[in-house]
Structure formats: C-alpha cells, structure tokens
Subunit: 325 residues, 2 copies
C-alpha cells in the first residue's frame, strides 16, 4: 500500500528509455501492492500517442526466481485471449530488468475499476474470466508450487501459536486446530490441477460495467487444484466483507459463469465445500499472522481474520453444501 | 503518502458522474499528499477521448474554509497563463462537493515529472514559473493568512520543547531560540506582499525536460511576503537534500529566471538572507515537530530536521550574502 522506493524523474526517464514505448511524460506512485512499489507511467510516442503503463519494482517479499513464471504467465494468457495485462519487454527482449539490485517490470495498463459491491452480472463475468485463465493456461510450460498451501497454513498456525490465536478470538486456536486436522486428512489431492490465480478478490479484477477488463496481481499464481481457485474466488466474491452474510445470487452467478466455459466434474463439485474451508483457512491464517505482526496503530489497515472464520463456518455447515449441487 | 479513504468503483463512478467529464474508466489511488487522499482518474468521453484527472478528498488536516481560496486560486492562475492545474467544476458549477462529510475536488491532470537533481536550466524555469504566479495572482481577490508564519514557528518550538529539540541534536534548542529571537526582531514585514506558494519544492513542480509543465500542491498557499517565497524556493532547490552543500549555479539560475519576469527591489534583495533563515526555520520546525511525533518504525519516512539547520547556517553566514547581491 505504498511506494517503498523513491525514483527520481531522471532515473525513471532512463528506465523507460530502455523500453521501446516512447518518452516518459508522467509518473505517479500508486497506492497498490503490499510487496512492490508501483508507478503509473505515461509515455508519448513519436506520433504524439499517449500510453499508460504500470512500472513495478519488486521489493524484498518477491522471490526473483518466480518472476519468469509470473511475467511469462501474463504474456501467455494475454496471447491466449485472456483479459490480463501483457509484460512489456525491454529493447533486448527481457521481461524484467534490474535497477540498484531490484527487479523492475513494465506492464500494460488496462482500464477498469474494482467493484466493492458486485452484482450477479459482475460475478457471472468474473466466474467466466476465471475459467478463461484456467483453460487459457493449459499449454503454459511454467510450474510454481503454491507457497500458501495446506502445509503452509499449518506452519502459519504454529507461528501464531495457540495463545496468539486466542488473543484474536477465544475460540480461534481450537477452531484452527480442528480444521487443519480435518483438512490434512481429507484434502482432495487427486482433483485436476492447473495454473491458478489463488487470490482473485474484487480488488484484483478490473471491470467496465458488467465486463471484466482485466485480471491483475498474479503474484500468488501457482500450479494447484483448479477447483480450489473456484473456492477462493467464491469465498472472495459471495460474502459481505465481514463474512457474516452469504449472497446466494452472487454464488449462483459466479458458478454459472465459470461452468459456461469449464463445467466442474462431479468430484470437483463434491469437493467445493472442503475447498471452501481450505480457502477460508488460507486467508484466516495469513490475516491472523499479519494481525499479530502489525502494530494496532500502524498506518496500514489490519484486515479482520474473523471475517474468514465466519466463511469457514459457512462452508463447514453441511446444510450449505446444497449451494454447490 | 497514502490513500486514507477507500472508495469503491460504484462510489467513484457516481462521484465522477456529477461532473461533465465523461464516464469513469479507471481509478488508481496515488501515493501523494500527506493530508489528502488522491486518485488518478481516467474518463472516456462520448467521442472516445480519454482524459486524466486527479480526484482529491480532503481529510482532517485541511480546513474547509480554505478550499475556496486554494481551488479559486488554481482557476485564477490557470486563467492568467500560469502552469497550474484547473479545478473542474461540477454540473452545478461548484468547485468542490461533499461525500460522506468530506470535501472532494476534481483537478486537471498535468503531465510532467518531478526532478530530484535539477540542472541550472530547470532551476531557471522554476524561478520564472514562481515569478509568473506572483505576477499572475495580482488581481486574485482571495486572502489567506500564512498558517506557518513567524508566530507559528515559535509555537512549534514551544510544542517541541528544549528537551525535545535537544533529543534531535544537542545544539538545536539553543540554535532555534537564538534564531527565533533574531527573526522576531528583524523580520522585514514591510516588503511587498502577494499570493505565495510557500512550499515550492521539486516534488511540487512537474517538468518536461527543461520546461515547467505544472506547479502543484497549493495547500500552503497564502498571502505573505513575496520575496519570502523566493527564499523558500531557493532553500528548496539550491542545496543537496541534506543541506550540506550549496550549488551556486542553481542559485544564480533560479534568481535569474525569477528576475527576468519580476526583478527584485533593492530591499527585497537585501532581505533575502534573513528570509532564507526564516524559510529554513519554517521547515526545520515542522520537520522537528513531525520527527518527534512520528514513531521511528512508522511506515512513513521521517525527514531530517537538521537538513534545514544546515541551510540556516548557510543563510546566517554573512560571507554568503554575496550570492544575493
């Protein structure tokens, strides 16, 4: 949520000069990205055409070994008709460069805004866009292990500790322990795998009206259970942000939009409740960890872990399995 | 340096709809403004023309009574040929609106980037642009008392306290006391007054090459000694950022650029060293106050107050008065 590195105009102009995109005419640090610095860049071509780009500088939290996967995936998906921004390669055709030891990428700017209260028509479009990337990435050669999978949720729980979790909510340590044991026993490892986005919250979807104009922030993308991505997206789109209320119309629309392009198998459908529990635990654990490691008076907003404890309860209640039938 | 208020796409579209600027197609929170939230807004007109704007939401630190001055000044200066962004009025011709009790203004977007290592040609252009606003604002009817004038420096020093200042640097409390007493006795109240920008640091100047494309952030603008603004700009542009080294070529270029449009009177020239001491104390005091009131581990960068103690020493040394002759 910040620009971690200050780059002066001279430096920015020099960096942009390494790409065949015209002359830098404006650069604004943008308040996006937890582990990157981002600038909205405006350039002017020889013919006077003005174009926008996002310049991203990868700070400590991004593993450089993953960049070819992330940036290559964007190019591959864009080349296969998916609404994702392309990576602009530099004059030597490199997808990223270095400045002062930090990697930098120039990314296509896509129009669109992130909705906070989606309509069913918008959820439908998001479901379809998710299926598009699952199908579109089929031939992508890159592989990346999910850095926030089942064993990582357990590791985060250990780092928080029972007392830490109890400091967030008295019942949380028990809930997490019970749930992790259950997931470790019953996680459906045998379902189809593919590239997944793994973090398709509304703020990672750009929309123009009811249309998806861009899926962004692929920095959690990895190779994992395809239907798990459906569950993550479901948890992200079909509840009030505090997790207290579920919207069946959004749920129906999202799944319908998805299945119009990629119908779920019987096994996938049956697994959605447990995948939803896994998705809930994933965000519950990262939020709990961040909660405990962010001072209450820090300038970043801490996100309430309990919003995902509530989603977890929803997916765990057998009564609700009907929504996935 | 942050977006303090989150506005969803629906809200932003509704807000932009109140202006005759086309349809919202993109909005990015930008990392500018200490007391405001800012978004870079892209709209599309009926003919397909894409235009950029800055949407500013005024948070607690802006006094609403001052907004007609700030926004009216932008319009007035733009109308008098100065490189400043216009305020876009809403459909009812209001320069600002309210959303959830907070004031919002839509401001013209100007291209350009802020330099960090200015050249003499750039300093020359900045001097000329400063003179342009001093002259251009001559007929502007608005008045605003400088909220960071001499008496406020004293008040800030009292709030910091001698022990607080000493915690920054052992000699700082004595330096501030000695300097404030001197300024209170010798401040040149009888010099010409006008609208001044009062904060024309490089990050408030947008440049395209050697040309000034925009002066921005007029939220310290007020009615005060015209030559004091020259001194502020001099202190802001002619030193290394730590204040340790003075660049005579930048100083000559800045003053020459200014005087090509508005020659300084003999009295103004003679007063520049003391005005430079005042400008140094102004930023020294606000930085000292912020330093003491910002935790060392906060996510904002604390600016070193001593960078202006060093400028103060420079202006106070009679040997250096020659640069203003």
């Amino acid at each position: 949520m910040a620009v971690y590195t200050q780059l002066g105009a001279e430096t920015l102009a020099e960096i942009i000069g390494e790409f065949d995109v015209g002359t830098l005419i404006s650069a604004k640090g943008i308040a996006e990205g937890v582990s990157n610095s981002n600038w909205l860049i405006e350039t002017e071509g020889a013919d006077g055409t003005v174009t926008l780009f996002i310049l991203t500088m990868y700070e400590q939290r991004t593993d450089l070994d993953d960049l070819p996967f992330f940036l290559g995936l964007l190019d591959y998906l864009a080349g296969h008709g998916c609404p994702v921004p392309r990576t602009i390669h530099d004059r030597e055709n490199r997808p990223f460069r270095f400045h002062d030891g930090k990697a930098l990428a120039l990314i296509e700017f896509l129009p669109g805004v992130s909705v906070t209260h989606p309509t069913p028509a918008q959820a439908h479009a998001v479901g379809a866009a998710l299926a598009q990337i699952h199908l579109g990435a089929a031939g992508f050669p890159g592989k990346r292990v999910n850095g926030l999978g089942l064993s990582d949720w357990r590791a985060l729980a250990n780092e928080c500790g029972a007392a830490g979790l109890a400091s967030i909510d008295p019942g949380l340590a028990d809930l997490v322990e019970r749930e992790l044991s259950l997931l470790e026993q019953h996680w459906p490892h045998d379902l189809p795998h593919s590239v997944i986005h793994a973090d398709l919250f509304p703020d990672n979807v750009l929309m123009l009206g009811d249309k998806v104009s861009g899926l962004i922030d692929f920095y959690f993308a990895c190779t994992d259970i395809t239907a798990y991505d459906v569950a993550v997206t479901h948890a992200a789109w079909c509840f009030s942000s505090d997790g207290a209320s579920f919207d069946p119309a959004l749920s129906r629309a999202l799944l319908q939009g998805y299945e119009e392009l990629r119908p779920l198998s019987e096994n996938e459908r049956t697994a959605l409740p447990i995948l939803g529990r896994g998705a809930s635990i994933r965000f519950l654990m990262t939020r709990a960890y961040d909660w405990m490691n962010t001072p209450a008076d820090a300038m970043v907003t801490r996100k309430d872990p309990m919003a995902f404890a509530r989603r977890l309860e929803f997916y765990a209640d057998p009564v609700n399995a009907v929504i996935f039938k």
